[in-house]
Subunit: 349 residues, 4 copies
């Protein structure tokens, strides 16, 4: 830790949306010093060249990863594209802690990784070391981790409600449907046709149907909770909004259970959690309730079909679904109050 | 029919979005003469007072329903709020045909109606006479109907794919999940908080969870197709876009069947239909593909869970989900080619 | 003309938004046969590969420009990037008519062209032959033209109101301010950061301030109308919407004139024009009034400062600002009613 | 001040967007205790009934203004509709400070007030006492004020750049054009047709042309700066976005001056201001740069017409244009650092 009592942070891949969101949060975090910011293509330029809204912040210029002086870094956030991260992290000195926002270390089974990502894992030892950073579920392990695999956005919104319900045997592990709707920043800042305004505005569609890489990540968490293999029907959709993921989950209830039982269990589980909020009966979580915050709101409804319930969660994909949870994990790793730097209320409208 | 070889049309409730959409389509329909347009609160004013984009069309001024001279009318489109329509239609001379865009005559079981709409049906005889106007399914009855109950927007998008699949016993009647996402015009032009721009933009939420009145309408059609009671999990969502409904439907396959079988059946069923389009394997229907058109696009995907499939439909809620299908029904009733007035391609972007 | 009594059309650059919009309009035009569609990068693929909403139209597959059999073409629409068009058009047989939607032939002064586009014009002879296709102003020349330079979107919205006012000496040629606001399709379908949804949604900004290439095009038309050099302050802005350009123009009135005089002149000028609509006193033109149509709406207001007025025009940038006006010009060139294929009413909402 | 070392605050009219924004900011302000929140129609309900995103904040229930116990209040923020505020404030005990976000006390000339608001001012004495709270300009007076008239959103964006330029005689007081573009929250949370999603999305239009009540407020500030009467051409536009105002201002330069001179003057004036940021040459301020912040960004461009410049400002209408500036004024009144509670960076995207 630097003399100023702040940890010294590198953000690798600072020019995308999760990188930008980290800068937004960490610039106001009392224990964070932003020491190195990397962006391969824009190295040598000021941050404002790629993130003009930060023009008046005092931030170091963008550099290449190769130029990071690791002796000056305590913690690195990795916001690099999936697949490229393994080798980068492998090259980071072992005394530097790492919170990785890519998918590279999320799947503990390297065969699953190979199957879904199309190549053998390139840092198997690190994979074993990495802790899956769904904070509310894995807090104890995160506390002592060197490498945290920060969860995907969809898996965060799906697992937070489903894990406690499966653990408590309140719902069946069969026939779980997760229908998710995401804002466009979920696709990153890549120059792809589908990310253009005119392709995404004024319409909605499903993508990656029965083929999205977040499915095995969701299933990994649910399987661990259930103690046996769980498979879900998962369909993501692209919604014309900047931020937010709403997941509508259709579940079968254990015999004799109703929505109230699920809500009670969730309330109990998350009673002392600052970020997970279980709403009252009849309230439908909306992404605009959590915009810009690290919160996850969860609601439960009885379906009209007996024995079924509908569980709905809302998060901001860039905060609880990415950079906010990453900072929450940092707070856990360093023993600071978990809400540090994450206190802001939702920006509504 | 008038001497000009056009039918003489009244639009009751011309100032809302379905009324406006009827004016858009009928103003260019070669066999339609717009003779009477009603709007109780704005009676006496030109159409442009409520629909300024029509300022340069030659249209009759708005009048009250009481002022309609029914002797001059061949066909009335009713775009009145649910619940008020029954008595209005009961008072229309029996030689005038009626296409009703409200929900008042959609449920053939008047007990269901009473249960969902909170009061006994006030025009039971007319209800018996009314034909449910899902054109592709009920064309023969529509042809000779005097009163057509034009389907709801969600029921149109859900029934068009599910009815043939249930009829052909390719999918189970159990555990059908219909997760629907609608543009904001689906809520009408009412001055409600939830319809305000700042309440609907930049966010998504579910509403009417397990309680939406379109559920029994969907179930009525599926039950008829199946020959036994079908109940669905149906959840509508509000999406920040003007138009469009995307319905993502999770179904269980009959033994040994796969998505290809469903697609083949749908292609066969709709082979000669001008508006229902079954997309190729791998294509995900998007609402922007059908914006401004009377089309319904349907796609089918195998789920990763064996024995399950995902069926996706896209419509424009104001066209195929309301006014376009109403005009399609008019075309059927008068024996004109069904595409008359409905030929326009999607407005993309 | 082909035996089927339709002209045979090539669309060069069919995969962008102006190309797409031409396909939308021409597919329903009674005298148009789409014979060749080019897209260099996607040659060999069906149109649906780049424009999925057209999947169910019968259209020829995409080819390279080199593969066009010019003997089968009567008319080519060019939707190619600025700068590349000159050589392409130079290579087209002289019996083929050309409507060019790029900027390449709009500036009659080739020095102006060189100054604004950074290189000498490469087809000076053709430039001399080209007619500037602001239909309402140049109809007579368009009628007999072989090459029509279709106007830019901003210049269309600015010139239609300003030209008659300058011609009639109702406003001063000095101190004209044109503040324009465009939807995102105005920037084309290029993969640029600024075109991404998350960069364009939920915000507005000016771009190309005092440096946009449409300024000299606007000034060319106004100068011709005035008979002497006119320079304007022109600032374009990017608005989070798909389509539409609103131009708010601040002008100084000739001595003793008021807004009513301007409105009267515009009404007189455009009395028989099907597409240019002068709204009544107090009505503020909105882009949603003209969405999907070839209309230009114009309103005039007295400013609170004596001797000044505010003129506002609204167009759909892809229709009257591009492909619609191109079809209007085609109609003029072939002697068909000008509204052919362009009859649709605005898609509202 | 309460024993807890926080001032005790009442927010009158807490259920609208400016009220909501005050709650967002003040809930995290270290010196603010929210003691009384009023909403006449929703009195008796929790805040979450009207602002569901605040469901998990500990806030007092909504009450009627009559029910406020003024003995417990140090400072009241008034977010009431224009016209109703005067009598409400007149009835507040004189020891309570007031920051009024309505227009009721902004115009110092009560004849101007009467002319623009249609009735004689009902609290003339208070009007004399009120200080116009454009903080950067009137800080000294705000410091000792009891009643602060918080500036309008458009006037804030227009005056911050124009006042220093007029004071320094760098621009002419004649022919100033202010073309402003606002997000939809600028119209408040009222149930009006024009505020509906489907009426405001996917389009842009001008409103209140040459008749908006913010014009005299802008002119009051400029006149004071200039020392003589200044009149501006001011046109507001409604843009499909939640937040933000961009003002594009066309000015005539004093002899021999260029944009660089203006920029230098603005930089000098605002060198030590935490919220007013003058961007470098070539940078175009965007509303998304300031979303959710109290910042005002200002850019200056030379026009192509000699002797003219274009000045652009961007603010968040709900923050610097309303509730943020109100809190800034509170900070000034109580001697706290001006940025207290207003430190957050822009939420981008």
């Amino acid at each position: 830790m630097s003399s100023s009592n702040k940890i010294r942070i590198a953000v690798l891949g600072a020019s995308g949306y999760t990188g930008s969101e980290l800068l937004r949060i960490l610039s106001r975090h009392p224990h964070a010093a932003l020491v190195a910011l990397t962006a391969e293509k824009n190295a040598g330029q000021p941050v404002s060249a790629v993130l003009p809204h930060l023009a008046f912040e005092k931030l170091p210029d963008l550099i290449k990863i190769d130029a990071v002086d690791w002796k000056t870094i305590d913690l690195a956030f990795c916001c690099l594209p999936h697949g490229t991260t393994q080798e980068v992290i492998a090259a980071i000195p072992k005394n530097v802690k790492v919170i990785d926002l890519s998918a590279d270390f999320r799947l503990s089974n390297i065969d699953d990784y190979a199957a879904w990502y199309g190549h053998a894992h390139r840092a198997v030892d690190l994979q074993k070391e990495a802790v899956y950073g769904l904070t509310e579920v894995n807090r104890a392990k995160v506390k002592t981790a060197r490498i945290v695999a920060n969860p995907g956005c969809y898996p965060t919104g799906a697992q937070l409600p489903l894990i406690p319900l499966l653990k408590a045997k309140l719902i069946s592990a069969d026939d779980i449907v997760v229908d998710s709707k995401s804002g466009v920043t979920g696709a990153g800042r890549e120059l792809k046709l589908g990310n253009l305004y005119a392709e995404a505005a004024e319409g909605i569609h499903a993508y990656g149907v029965a083929a999205h890489r977040h499915a095995p990540e969701i299933e990994q968490g649910l399987t661990e909770a259930m103690g046996k293999g769980v498979k879900v029907s998962f369909t993501p959709h692209l919604v014309p909004m900047n931020r937010g993921i709403l997941s509508t989950m259709y579940v079968k209830l254990a015999a004799g259970k109703i929505a109230n039982d699920l809500r009670a269990e969730l309330k109990k589980t998350y009673a002392n959690e600052p970020f997970v909020k279980v709403v009252e009966e009849g309230v439908s979580p909306a992404t605009r309730h959590v915009r810009g915050t690290n919160a996850c709101w969860i609601g439960v409804f009885d379906d009209r079909i007996e024995g079924r319930a509908i569980v709905i969660s809302a998060i901001d994909n860039l905060v609880k679904g990415a950079s906010g949870q990453a900072v929450q994990n940092m707070n856990v790793m360093y023993g600071w109050p978990e809400t540090t730097g994450l206190e802001a209320l939702a920006l509504f409208p």
